[in-house]
Symmetry: C2
């Protein structure tokens, strides 16, 4: 049926939704009250209408500056550098970090032609410079890119760049996940967990 097939072909473009899941969703919409479909459609449109990028850190915001950048209780001497806006929400769920963020909007990838000029790096340097004329200069940059080839390349590039600015540059620890099992850790993770071992 055309309207089912149309919806299925759009839904399967979303991450994690195959043809079977898309059909289940279409049938669920047909079974449920029409107000549910209306609320879903409205909510999808609202998302794109209200969410923009924070003009300071590049994360998602519903105002010009995001709630984290506006929050004066946060530690303005630390910036955590992430690849994508959603990484900010992921890190926030840990409730461990109380500093600010900066979203790169990607990772360096010479193979795909993504160089430093494609990422929001100049803006970050500017933020660091601006902070030096405030009462809370930036003292630490935590690089939170994924431990992948591109994430590692980007981290090393940023380290060289920011060390010139006399801020300390750190990176999230790589190792065996909490609750994980040595037996199931891959050899690269194991090797890194040895190199990154810490005194008890």
């Amino acid at each position: 049926m055309k309207s089912i097939e149309d919806l299925v072909s759009i839904l399967t473009k979303l991450p994690g939704i195959g043809r079977k899941s898309a059909l289940r969703i279409a049938y669920a919409l047909l079974r449920s009250d029409i107000s549910f479909s209306e609320a879903l459609a409205e909510s999808i449109l609202m998302l794109r209408k209200t969410v923009r990028f924070c003009s300071e850190c590049g994360s998602y915001a519903e105002t010009d500056i995001c709630q984290i950048c506006l929050d004066n209780s946060r530690d303005r001497s630390i910036i955590c550098v992430v690849e994508q806006p959603q990484d900010v929400f992921t890190i926030e769920t840990s409730r461990e970090y109380r500093g600010l963020y900066h979203v790169l909007g990607g990772l360096l990838s010479p193979l795909e032609g993504i160089g430093p000029e494609s990422l929001s790096i100049n803006k970050l340097i500017q933020r660091i410079h601006n902070s030096f004329s405030t009462s809370v200069p930036i003292q630490e940059i935590i690089i939170a890119t994924n431990p992948t080839v591109e994430g590692d390349t980007t981290a090393l590039y940023l380290k060289k760049l920011f060390e010139k600015e006399l801020v300390s540059v750190t990176r999230l620890a790589t190792g065996i996940p909490v609750g994980g099992d040595l037996e199931y850790a891959d050899k690269l993770t194991l090797a890194r967990s040895f190199r990154g071992r810490a005194p008890l």
Copy 2:
């Protein structure tokens, strides 16, 4: 962020979508072009606007009578009785069956207070009677309810009912799935596959 949380809370009401999948979908919508979100919202609304129930068989239709009921190349002497409209599409994918359908709209369940009057059974009896005055009277009713307690109860009830109408009543075979393994078949399936054994 409110608009992300709003969408996530609606998405998680859909089958097979948990909080993590809903967040992935929300972020994918934010990353993709706004026209994609618009197409998705439009397609969801179109689905409910265009899909109705076939006034003949009760399956989904975009016109008053569905394409299968209208299709004169189909065998009008057989009706396959299913629980829900989507079962029609599932059976159609097998390309094995060329007769008509009838959607019950549920299964008998005395515990949940669902009796024969809640299902589209009178309409089916009427279809059978009507067919007797045409050149192609209905000769066989294939019951394709799931092999569950409710599906079995409903099948037995319908069998008694339709045998009075002098049509033959059959049911889909239950047994080990093609490509399945005896070792992993549950004992009820195995028992049924013995009872339903057929000459080679």
